[in-house]
């Protein structure tokens, strides 16, 4: 790191994450995520998910269609949610997220709902 010591470190903007929560007509709780989910905002999502009133046997759906990025901090929140809900579905995870779920042995923890991907 020595050769760049003179240059000041870069200040970065926080990533944008939008969280929308609603009940769908079947009674499932849908959490729609958009933007980027990482360690800087995973706690916010964790709090929102924890605020969902516990209802017996109600499935939880994370709609990831608009989520551009998620790392292991986001995966941790999803796993935490899966431990409390009757079932957790991930809707339209991106190819890289699917690849990580497969590579880390997590495909059995979630139900994956994917629409056909247009080429």
């Amino acid at each position: 790191m020595a050769e760049l010591e003179a240059e000041p470190p870069l200040k970065a903007e926080p990533p944008m994450l939008r969280i929308d929560m609603r009940l769908d007509p079947t009674g499932a709780q849908v959490v729609t995520l958009a933007g980027e989910l990482d360690s800087s905002n995973a706690a916010t999502l964790q709090e929102r998910v924890a605020s969902i009133p516990p209802r017996l046997a109600a499935p939880l759906i994370f709609d990831l269609t608009g989520l551009r990025f998620m790392d292991s901090a986001g995966i941790a929140v999803l796993i935490g949610a899966a431990a409390k809900a009757s079932s957790v579905s991930l809707r339209n995870p991106s190819p890289i997220i699917r690849r990580v779920l497969e590579a880390t042995g997590l495909t059995g923890v979630f139900l994956i709902e994917s629409r056909a991907i247009e080429s």
């Binding site: 790191m1 760049l4 240059e7 000041p8 470190p9 870069l10 200040k11 970065a12 903007e13 926080p14 990533p15 980027e36 990482d38 360690s39 800087s40 990025f69 790392d71 292991s72 901090a73 995966i75 941790a76 929140v77 796993i79 935490g80 431990a83 991106s94 190819p95 890289i96 699917r98 690849r99 990580v100 497969e102 590579a103 880390t104 042995g105 997590l106 495909t107 059995g108 923890v109 994917s114 991907i117 080429s119």
Partner: protein
């Protein structure tokens, strides 16, 4: 070519590091950019959260690969863990292990440097159609195998050794993990994979004898032995190591790559 940037020790820097790597690799395939971005996010998070240090992100390009380094002033070393599916944390380095071509940790006098590499894959030069679903992996396996045998006929593999570079650039499918019992040898592992039908399903060329050496020559394009520090050594069917190994991070990890499958072993 080297491009580098320093970042403050703050949570927002992780996104800044991601955006930097995305910009620098904007001419690369989506798969490469997304993998690099995810691994940078994991390493930058480690620097900020665990090392509690400013960090530098450096991206080097050589003729055929991208090497990304994240260095910080933290004293401890990140540890590769194997969390159960129920455990919430501990997947950062595991993701790097799965997505990188190669990776490692280098201690430095005032901290450490964690690096990973990916093959250069420009966005305009896709070598195979992208797979969108793992459910189709089984069906597409025979398809990509036939294309692999077309590109690398078994006869050629036997004479000149497998064409590792071509096989790596043609690779596109997901990494698969295989369980093995401990301890194991390279030979026992390959025999197990053969039996399980996972990696070596059936001979590419049925005219070949179905002996281990012949099947290896036909289908095992790449075999890397990876040591603890992330240094890896390419092996071929002719120089398979004979010693007994144990699972876990203390021992070597074998990576198998073929044009149609990729496996990381062991996972026990």
């Amino acid at each position: 070519m080297r491009q580098a940037r320093r970042f403050h020790c703050q949570a927002e820097s992780v996104a800044g590091a991601r955006h930097f790597v995305r910009d620098v690799l904007s001419d690369q395939s989506r798969e490469t950019v997304e993998a690099a971005e995810l691994m940078v996010s994991e390493l930058a998070t480690n620097s900020v959260r665990h090392a509690r240090s400013d960090f530098e992100l450096a991206i080097h390009r050589t003729r055929d690969e991208i090497r990304v380094e994240v260095s910080d002033h933290g004293e401890g070393q990140p540890v590769l863990r194997s969390p159960t599916p129920q455990e919430q944390s501990g997947r950062g380095l595991r993701i790097v292990q799965e997505l990188a071509e190669d990776w490692g940790i280098t201690p430095s006098p005032n901290g450490k440097l964690v690096w990973f590499s990916l093959p250069l894959r420009p966005s305009s030069a896709r070598t195979a159609p992208a797979r969108t679903s793992s459910a189709s992996a089984q069906a597409s396996e025979s398809e990509s195998r036939s294309s692999a045998s077309r590109d690398h006929p078994p006869e050629q593999s036997h004479q000149a050794g497998p064409d590792f570079r071509a096989a790596r650039s043609a690779y596109i499918g997901p990494i698969r993990r295989y369980r093995t019992s401990c301890p194991f040898t390279a030979q026992s592992l390959i025999a197990k994979l053969w039996r399980s039908g996972g990696l070596l399903k059936r001979p590419v060329d049925d005219a070949l004898p179905v002996g281990l050496t012949a099947t290896l020559g036909a289908r095992l394009d790449c075999l890397t032995r990876r040591e603890r520090a992330g240094n890896s050594k390419w092996l071929s069917q002719d120089n398979l190591p004979t010693e007994t190994w144990h699972c876990g991070w203390a021992g070597p990890v074998l990576r198998f790559e073929t044009a149609c499958a990729r496996a990381v072993i062991p996972s026990c």
